[in-house]
């Protein structure tokens, strides 16, 4: 493990800091929703720890009732989390050089936020084990902490919108997307994704917009390849 400051665990944790702060109110809200649905601390901790995918936890808890619609919830969870298939595929070439325990730790608790931050970092310098661990583990514990705390205190927190906490996530993602606009080749796929996502969000239920917007961008990226645009080889 490299001990140089730039590659350190701390660097990864600091890179995630704005997103960790932004995740706190959402964790509290998830905890409050879990309490409303009748889940206790242990069950909420278990869901956060094993599922660890905020959007799907929101969807599931929103549908929770007695008796629990087990298969509906599992099906919706799969749809909400389908994007992880594409994300895992895109991550693979960036972590190939890392030891197996690091790679599978990352994949096992892959999240939108840590994934995006890792790819941003990887564009500048190769990822290291300590940096990846600094990204993923504090962010994981942070989520479990706030969501479990939310079971007790979540209902006392006013909506995250009031303080703009919800916009932290949006602002960070916008800056990350801008980071992928470095060359002209990257722009058409992004525009295709934005267009399709906005259309799908308007006309389709649920979160299909993420998957369809993602597919649209990937297709445009693949199509442009045949126009003689050089890829990495």
């Amino acid at each position: 493990m490299s001990l140089s400051r730039q590659d350190s665990f701390l660097r990864g944790t600091l890179d995630m800091l704005p997103l960790s702060i932004g995740a706190a109110p959402f964790g509290l809200v998830i905890g409050a929703m879990a309490a409303d649905a009748g889940l206790n601390h242990l069950e909420t901790l278990m869901m956060g720890g094993l599922v660890y995918a905020g959007a799907s936890q929101f969807s599931a808890l929103g549908m929770w009732q007695t008796p629990v619609p087990v298969f509906t919830i599992i099906g919706v969870t799969l749809i909400v989390n389908l994007r992880l298939v594409l994300m895992g595929a895109a991550l693979a070439p960036h972590v190939r050089h890392l030891p197996i325990y690091c790679r599978w730790s990352f994949v096992g608790i892959l999240s939108d936020e840590t994934w995006a931050m890792a790819l941003r970092r990887s564009a500048e310098r190769p990822l290291t084990t300590s940096y990846v661990f600094g990204l993923i583990f504090p962010f994981y514990v942070n989520w479990l902490f706030w969501s479990t705390l939310g079971v007790t205190f979540g209902s006392q927190v006013s909506a995250p919108e009031v303080y703009g906490f919800d916009f932290v996530f949006i602002a960070v993602f916008i800056t990350l997307v801008m980071g992928f606009c470095k060359t002209r080749v990257n722009v058409p796929p992004l525009l295709a994704s934005v267009g399709v996502a906005l259309l799908a969000k308007t006309f389709l239920p649920g979160v299909w917009y993420i998957f369809m917007g993602g597919i649209a961008g990937v297709l445009v990226g693949a199509i442009l390849h045949s126009d003689g645009v050089p890829a990495d080889d």
Binding site: V68, T77, N81, A90, G164, I210
Partner: protein, 99 residues
């Protein structure tokens, strides 16, 4: 302390989510990534991020829309943290203005 139906549901949710996490990663470990596949994969990060954020940024309301534009402009030249702080500050002010 754990309700059985709740337990089953969480295990099921965890199972399909783990499947989604592992499948894409694992499938790319089996193939040589080059040519058109490389171009396609290269487009994934931006495509997914843009798809997640576009509706939240552009369809939520006038305050969010304008704050998103502010964030984009700031991110154009300035460091990420400045753009994020500027974007969040502007959304708080704009939401106040738009009621």
């Amino acid at each position: 302390m754990i309700d059985f139906q709740t337990f089953l549901t969480i295990i099921g949710m965890a199972g399909v989510t783990a499947l989604a996490r592992v499948f894409g990663y694992w499938s790319m470990g089996k193939v040589q990534i080059r040519g058109r596949l490389a171009s396609a994969l290269e487009a994934v990060p931006g495509a997914i991020l843009a798809s997640i954020v576009a509706p939240a940024a552009f369809l939520a309301g006038p305050a969010e829309f304008m704050a998103a534009l502010v964030t984009i402009l700031l991110a154009w030249r300035l460091p990420m943290l400045v753009a994020v702080i500027g974007g969040v500050t502007s959304v708080v002010i704009l939401r106040h203005l738009f009621g």
